[in-house]
């Protein structure tokens, strides 16, 4: 990407010439607007306010600026994870689907200078088959880049109760555990467990007929 300029020391430099435009894009993105919506809102703003500093905006530019923010966030996370006094961190993994696209969600819990942080590391679209090995491959690639010493620092993994995640032989947690130098504490997410309890209890009522009627109402009305 043209925006990211490789420096002699191996780092990258990004120069944002129009900081107002950059800040506006990031602020709009942070409230959940899509790239297109962000462009539309800022163009409306420019037209009404006659602010020439906001001219020349397009979807591609929004994408570039968001990439810059993402790169800075990942770099900050990497810096924290690689600090010498940060000796451990925990991962929280979950997979989900949104609008027909599978996504892998990854959080990291890390203790830095007296504060326990719960950072959202990444949410990536997942185009391969939903196999544990594919999930692990993706997580490993990410961790190898962010913190090459993760094998020694990862002490806990939490996930839902899906077999893909917690399977004793080929589950995501098991496979990641094998990569670690320490014993890894497995945590089965309590809200997910409660959800499964409610699901099982619900399906027992009238041999699922109770649920089917409510579901039919929900679909019909």
């Amino acid at each position: 990407m043209k925006l990211f300029k490789l420096q002699e020391d191996g780092s990258y430099l990004v120069i944002i010439k129009n900081s107002l435009r950059f800040n506006l894009i990031i602020e709009h993105g942070s409230v959940g607007l899509s790239f297109r919506q962000t462009v539309a809102v800022i163009i409306q703003h420019r037209n009404l306010c006659k602010n020439s500093k906001l001219a020349g905006l397009n979807n591609h530019m929004v994408g570039q600026f968001v990439r810059v923010l993402l790169a800075v966030a990942l770099q900050s996370m990497s810096t924290i994870m690689n600090q010498k006094h940060v000796w451990a961190f925990s991962l929280a993994t979950d997979a989900s689907s949104h609008m027909g696209v599978s996504l892998l969600d990854q959080r990291i819990r890390i203790y830095v200078e007296g504060v326990l942080y719960n950072l959202h590391m990444v949410l990536v679209p997942f185009f391969e088959r939903h196999l544990a090995v594919n999930y692990v491959k993706l997580i490993k690639t990410m961790l190898d880049i962010l913190c090459p010493d993760w094998h020694s620092k990862l002490i806990s993994i939490s996930s839902d109760g899906e077999n893909t995640m917690t399977g004793p032989h080929g589950g995501v947690v098991t496979l990641l555990e094998k990569e670690c130098n320490n014993h890894v504490l497995r945590i089965w997410c309590v809200p997910h467990q409660l959800d499964i309890v409610v699901k099982n209890a619900m399906q027992d009522v009238l041999d699922q007929a109770f649920y089917k009627v409510a579901h039919a109402y929900s679909v019909h009305l």
Binding site: K199, A216, H220, L221
Partner: protein, 167 residues
């Protein structure tokens, strides 16, 4: 109808909001069912069970919200789950099916499920506490349907208690 039934989601605890809406719109739905001759038009027994288990869903939803708080730790989540069990046990008067507890109790007056039991009178009281229309629906059921209704409510309550205790 002026309001919309919440859609079923992948989160089972959200099922309570569907029940809540259906129960709130019971009379309108009955008229709607009669006019449209819906296939899924439900039996009176279904409504009694829905009314009886809806408060349990409300209580579970409170716990679910609390244990999802950003600053909560696992030990606090466990405490919340224990409180949930205590409240459901107290609400339905669920008792452990020990030899001492069952001594002198007429088996026809209780419903046993795994290691727990409930007095039928306790469930009837719980149903009656849900409002006059629920009470009237229950009273109008045949004896067989009454027994089935009590059994299904017991199964749901005890299943929640037994499984949450193991989380």
């Amino acid at each position: 109808m002026g309001s919309k039934c919440p859609k079923d989601t992948t989160r089972w605890v959200a099922f309570g909001s569907i029940l809540h809406w259906l129960l709130q719109n019971y009379r309108r739905l009955m008229i709607h069912n009669a006019a449209k001759r819906l296939v899924q038009a439900s039996l009176e027994m279904w409504w009694v069970i829905a009314a009886a288990i809806s408060p349990l869903f409300d209580r579970i939803a409170i716990t679910f919200t609390k244990i999802q708080a950003r600053n909560i730790v696992i030990s606090q989540q466990r405490q919340e789950m224990s409180k949930l069990v205590v409240d459901i046990v107290a609400g339905l008067d669920i008792r452990p099916a020990t030899d001492e507890a069952l001594e002198g109790v007429d088996p026809l007056t209780i419903i046993t499920q795994s290691d727990w039991f409930i007095l039928k009178d306790s469930i009837v009281m719980h149903i009656q506490n849900q409002g006059s229309w629920v009470r009237d629906l229950y009273n109008a059921l045949s004896d067989t349907n009454k027994q089935t209704t009590l059994k299904e409510i017991t199964i749901f309550g005890i299943s929640i208690v037994a499984n949450v205790s193991q989380v």
